[in-house]
């Protein structure tokens, strides 16, 4: 019986946090040995459950591929056997593997290649967690109710018939009916109780308290955990991702016409604080990403009302059809005291009518183009490719922005999906580096660049159809530039 084997397992099931919002699949683009590859992992929603890995390898000399999930909280001696990947019929470059995940939590999925050139291996961080509360299909519900009624009637009749000889048939029937009612009530109570516990442990963004503090010259954004935050969400176990403990995104409601990518500084284990750039006042949605020492990621969410900037005109309030992309140019990175903006902070204001036209204006008269030609379809692996051009139409030479050639932030119009991508995919680079150190593999630094030096691409598959806004950030000689695009993702046919 499943319960028996599961008992001890259930004792060790613990809640884990989620990275991103509504986007559970993992996308990775990098290199294993000399072989470039792209990996898409679709974790299961129940545990134990089967995960799927699609591995795209262009090199024809790769002879075998396998995947092996390592639970990060366990030692390397606790590895399960590797699962071999098979070539997908009709696809020369695509391999597929399935592997079991016993429980939710943080994993490093090692992808191993064999080839005459020495093969290679790379570890891909994976956060496996349940995302949604189950809903029973009505047809199944009706069937079960019908069977339940039949079983109840059968039990009442059987009890009465068995007691007929003793003259207590009626008593037996009533007792059986009461027992059946009690069983239904008890089962329902148990279900409600378990469903509540399950819902509490779902991977979901963690609410955080945010507030704005103002002094004579600046507005400061402060973050502290809510009273309800679990102890596991403490901020004293964070590691840096792209050199920052926290990546924070602000988007102004209701039109999402102002956007900021900031990096507050941890003042103590319960307090992050950072200087706010001169964003226009209003209500903002706040998303912040952190990575813990155990490789788990969290997305923190909040709403915050920003006052007008202190001492400065609200930039972006007077943008007749234009945009403004700004970033500091002279402050040291990761200032110990949050008295100044971080060098990698950036913000953007103004949405052009061209957002839907695959050509987004950039600050200074340049433009960014969305170069992906394939139609966007939900749950279909794709490359989101962008090119940046200067005011004179010449390609802009892209420079690394926090170690990457670009950062993409995607938000579905209803907020059910929010994710932060970079050319290496959706993985946390902090977790990837930890895995590389642990496993002795090469840190999966991005291949990142598109075909040309002014291009950048991001591997992704939109989890749901619908309307999305994409903020694409790159660094050029003039600073960080943000292109904003609105796209419609079609339902998978």
């Amino acid at each position: 019986m499943r319960s028996l084997a599961a008992l001890a397992l259930a004792l060790f099931l613990a809640a884990t946090a989620a990275a991103h919002v509504g986007s559970p699949n993992v996308f990775f683009e990098g290199r294993a040995g000399v072989h470039p590859l792209r990996v898409v992992i679709r974790p299961p929603q129940t545990f134990p459950g089967l995960a799927q890995a699609d591995i795209r390898i262009a090199d024809a000399d790769v002879t075998a591929v396998s995947v092996q999930p390592a639970f990060l909280d366990a030692g390397s001696e606790a590895l399960p056997p590797p699962s071999p990947a098979e070539r997908v019929a009709g696809e020369a470059e695509l391999w597929n593997a399935t592997f079991w995940l016993l429980r939710r939590g943080s994993y490093g999925v090692e992808v191993k290649l064999e080839s005459p050139r020495g093969g290679g291996r790379v570890a891909v961080p994976l956060q496996a967690a349940a995302l949604a509360r189950p809903v029973m299909p009505p047809a199944l519900g009706v069937t079960l109710i019908a069977l339940g009624l039949l079983l109840g009637a059968f039990a009442v009749w059987l009890s009465a018939a068995a007691a007929r000889d003793t003259g207590r048939a009626r008593f037996a029937a009533i007792a059986a009916a009461l027992v059946c009612c009690a069983a239904v009530w008890g089962g329902n109570w148990r279900w409600q109780q378990m469903d509540r516990d399950f819902a509490n442990a779902l991977a979901k963004p963690l609410p955080v308290s945010s507030a704005v503090r103002t002094d004579d010259a600046r507005n400061f954004l402060q973050l502290v955990p809510t009273r309800e935050a679990p102890a596991t969400a403490a901020w004293d176990t964070l590691v840096t991702d792209h050199g920052k403990l926290m990546h924070l995104f602000l988007v102004r409601e209701p039109d999402f016409d102002a956007f900021a990518h900031l990096h507050p500084v941890r003042r103590d284990p319960r307090n992050f604080e950072g200087v706010l750039p001169p964003l226009p006042g209003g209500t903002y949605q706040l998303y912040a990403e952190v990575t813990h020492e155990d490789g788990s990621n969290e997305t923190l969410v909040s709403k915050v009302n920003l006052p007008p900037p202190v001492g400065l005109a609200a930039q972006g309030d007077a943008l007749p059809g234009g945009v403004m992309c700004l970033s500091p140019t002279a402050v040291p990175a990761n200032a110990a005291e949050p008295t100044a903006l971080d060098f990698d902070d950036s913000w953007h204001m103004g949405i052009s009518d061209a957002a839907r036209d695959k050509r987004a204006p950039l600050m200074g008269g340049g433009r960014m183009e969305f170069l992906t030609a394939d139609p966007l379809v939900a749950d279909r692996d794709t490359s989101l490719r962008f090119g940046a051009f200067g005011a004179d139409g010449a390609p802009l030479l892209l420079e690394p922005y926090m170690g990457m050639l670009g950062h993409a932030v995607l938000r579905r119009s209803d907020g059910t999906v929010f994710t932060h991508l970079h050319p290496a995919g959706s993985i946390s680079m902090a977790a990837a580096e930890m895995l590389a150190k642990r496993d002795g593999t090469v840190s999966p630094m991005p291949l990142s660049a598109g075909a040309r030096p002014n291009e950048v691409e991001f591997p992704y598959a939109f989890p749901q159809p619908g309307e999305y806004r994409m903020w694409i950030q790159v660094r050029a000689k003039t600073g960080v530039l943000t292109g904003v695009f609105d796209v419609v993702v079609a339902e998978r046919g």
């Binding site: 599961a6 129940t46 399960p80 516990d197």
Partner: protein, 367 residues
Amino acid sequence: MIRARMAPEALLLAAAIAVPLTLFWDFSWESTINVDRFFGPPHAANYLAVAAAAAAAFRLVAVSTRRGDGGVSLGRARGPLGAWIVLWGALAFVAALLFDRWWQSNYGLAAGIWHPPQIAKALAYFAVVSGAWIALVARQTSTAAAIAAAFAAGAVLAMISVVTTAQSFANRQHSSVFYELGCATYPLVLVAHALAGRLRAPASAAAGAYMALVGAMVWVLPRFAATPQAGPVYNALDHLLAPPFPLLLIVPAAGLDFLLRRSPGRRASSSGWADALECGCAFFGLFALTQWLFSAFLLSPGADQWFFAGGGRDWPFFLRIDPEARTAFWDFMSPGLDLVGGFVAAALAIGSSRAGLWLGGALRGKA
């Protein structure tokens, strides 16, 4: 549903025995391999066992109806009470399986164990196995049939042992909850069979059958090579995990046989609280004494061998357990047996014995 070609009683017995055995196999499979599909070998065998029980019960009803035998009637159909209970259990199993499949693919194990469909499945299993026992007790027309009834009673005891496995590891056999659970359940079957069985020592025979059935799984399953297919693998296994060694129920069962069979006249009048008091106290005393000592042996190096599958050497692959905890009593999980726990366990044994006396009397009336 498979067709009953052998005598329905034999098929019913085989199916009743197969239900707990396939559940132990499933336990072993999931503790060793974990890759667990709807039609995985232990699951398929388990479904087959329930289907075979239903087919045998259906056949018993059909034969009784045709012959116009006594029994319980539903419309024109007549059949032994046990057969009807088996059919109810089979129908409940279908419903529970539908529910469980949905549950497993939506909640998995993340919501915890003993979820509603799992409880429903356990009820269905008990109905199938108990129904077979009741049907076979009513047909003890020969020594062979009486032995069959004892094995069916052993299957019911094995079912109890299946659902209480988590509390019955040797490491927990000094805790109050182990004795309370054992005293609340086993006496019911043992006392009832002591009264209704036709063998010389029916309760002992039933307990012996239980020990043989569970022991067979302890000795046979580890003969098959198997390795974990999911991680983390905290305990590397190269064979199917043996279930815990069976409880030495034959000792308290012999005491019950002695009490209830020492004179025919006493046996005929065994139905009151005085007998329940006597049986319950005897069961508790013998059960506690035997398991208290035997569990210490099971955790010792002397039990670290294939026969006892003890000594703390084999654990489910997913269980992270300290080396010291493998051979220690787990007092941290639940309080040890003390005066209060002993009193509660004895009281439960008395209540269970009282129910067993009532059931045994009723079964004997139909036998």
